[in-house]
Amino acid sequence: MTQQTPVSKASGEGGAAPAEPMRDPRLLTTVASPKGWLDALRRRLRGGELGPIPVIVGLLLIAVVFQSMNDRFLSPQNLSNLTVQIAAIGLMTTGVIMVLLLGEIDLSIGSVAGLSAAVLAVLAVKQGFPEWGAIAAAIGVGLLIGLVHGTVFAKLGVPAFVVTLAGLLGWQGVHLYLMGSDGTINTSPNGAIAMLTQTYFVPFMGWAIAAITVILYTISVFVVERSRRRARLPYKPPSEIVFRAALLSLPILGGVWVLNQYKGVPLAFLIFVGFVVVLDLVLRKTRYGRMVYAVGGNAEAARRAGINVDLIRISVFGIASTLAALGGIMLVSRNFAASVSTGGGAELMMAIAAAVIGGTSLFGGRGNAYSALLGGLVLGAITSGLLLLQMDTSVRFMITAAVLLIAVIIDAISRRGRKSHARGGA
């Protein structure tokens, strides 16, 4: 009533807006200084917005515990192996996260990984396809399977749980059928397939990749914040951008430094991290990503907003199975073989556990691509540490279960004080 600006005009041009629009007095602003950031951090923690902090703390804790029990744990060789080991399941996790964001589940990723491994080995070894061709075919099979899952789910309305449960069984069946009487098919130890996990970048390349990443990040944040300032929106001052860039470069440069002490940055890890970064950008910066979150948050609202919900669902299942197939290829690459048991073990459970430990909600609409990396590192570190201590799988499962529960409990507790992330009505 106090303002008579016609709506359509005001939304069309900004000229008439008052010079400095009054901010709501309830909005607490962050002062641009280390103390200001600390205050903001404390406010967030108290509000229950823990973000990745619990996982990072957990990761550090795991490192300290295992290192104190066996000083080879933090050795460059062990850490380098760890990064290669987590790549396969990490890729599967990345796909699962997309599905979890929709509020659905994909139980078939282990079987799809296994089938893709079988397709790869049969084509490359038995049919004599060039290895790159076989890799492409295996990925294609994954994509196709995902599109089938997505279509049955979205168009026919069969719950994703059931569709992918059928997939879990069915694709494993096809996998076994393709393997025929062979229990294992060995792949060449020096072809394109093996290269995926056997390639390491020379130290200079590792540094270059790290530097480019940090620089690109800094520049892009800088550009965004400058345009926010020009648009008179709240923005981060340069000092904060530099601070954030420094915070980011710490693990990146540190990681490259450690990996360079052994053989260099492994290609497999880079592929995994690359997918995580790309998916993160897609989810946060593109219209497609926004639609995925919207469908996960409230599918009916998304539909009424004109979003093609079916298409989003089908595409997400397509992405998930494609990444699962990639994971299967990585498994073959690391073992130099595909076997009847590839992808049929704990892979599915580990991939879902990693996503949840990393902070992605099972109820849709909440989470991010980085949970694949963080969750994967946690589970990988546990596996690797227990292996060094010569404990067997039984212990690993029990400890993984405990970590999974702790992660979910921390999330549940922190969410109590955080209605802002609660789902459901006002």
Binding site: M1, V7, A17, S227, E300, K419, G425
Partner: protein
């Protein structure tokens, strides 16, 4: 009345064994506020959803836009025509922030596919300022907003696309006094700018304040179309309830019509 922008005739809608709408006619012209009235379950929200494409009508009805026959089979069909809807069951994504909700399905883009957050946030700010809405931060998930704030966001959302027809399904039900007045102001402003407005409300005071015409539905059928200025409260109530002898009139007789006087100011 000038020629209608939107004209529906013979619209029916069945949900399983329930015939929520049968053979309904409805029209809105530019610069006109039409109140859609009826008791609970009369089919008002269903009609809105038919027009907005959320629940397409059964075959047989005719929808005309600017006199041309059109099909509205999905929400994007309606959006493309220029129909904006504020649903009774607010269609917001609780996990997304205010800016994301405002522009959902209508995002401003930089290069192909990438979001222009700066543009969206500044337009959101202007829009909310022009509606005199004060919300601490535009970057909080809407789940953390109060019911009325969510309502305002839903209304603001529908105005971003420069619609020609705006439908509001009980927009003031959850609002405080000041916000209700703002929404009524807003409806008048929309009308003055030449938009067609469809308002559903159970609050007769609101309806009389802004509507030009009242279309009444009863049990999913047309039950009258009245120019507000020339129709008494009793006539409308009789149409809504279907009888001159109805709970409202009985009550007003009992209480000496004081109920009417306060409600029908």
């Amino acid at each position: 009345m000038s020629t209608p922008v939107l004209e529906l005739s013979g619209i029916s809608k069945t949900f399983g064994a329930v015939r929520a709408l049968s053979d309904v006619d409805f029209q809105v012209a530019e610069g006109e506020v039409v109140a859609l009235l009826g008791d609970n379950g009369a089919g008002k929200s269903t009609l809105v959803k038919v027009i907005s494409g959320a629940h397409p009508a059964d075959a047989g009805g005719v929808i005309r836009w600017d006199g041309r026959q059109v099909g509205i089979n999905s929400p994007s069909d309606a959006q493309r025509l220029g129909i904006a809807t504020i649903y009774q069951d607010l269609a917001l994504c609780d996990n997304l922030d205010i800016v994301a909700n405002l522009f959902l399905g209508n995002e401003k883009l930089h290069f192909p596919g990438t979001l222009d957050e700066v543009e969206m946030e500044s337009r959101a700010m202007e829009l909310l300022d022009s509606l005199s809405v004060r919300i601490p931060s535009l970057r909080v998930p809407v789940a953390s907003l109060s019911g009325g704030q969510r309502q305002i966001i839903a209304i603001a959302r529908s105005l971003l696309g420069q619609p020609r027809v705006v439908m509001l399904d009980e927009p003031t039900a959850a609002l405080g006094v000041a916000q209700t007045a703002q929404v009524l102001d807003l409806i008048e402003r929309l009308r003055d700018q030449g938009h067609g407005v469809v308002l559903i409300s159970h609050n007769m005071a609101d309806v009389r304040a802004v509507a030009d015409r009242a279309v009444v539905l009863r049990l999913g059928r047309n039950a009258g179309d009245f120019p507000i200025a020339e129709t008494s409260y009793e006539e409308i109530v009789a149409a809504i309830t279907g009888a001159a002898d109805n709970p409202v009139s009985r009550r007003s007789e009992r209480t000496g019509s004081s109920a009417l006087a306060t409600e029908d100011k």
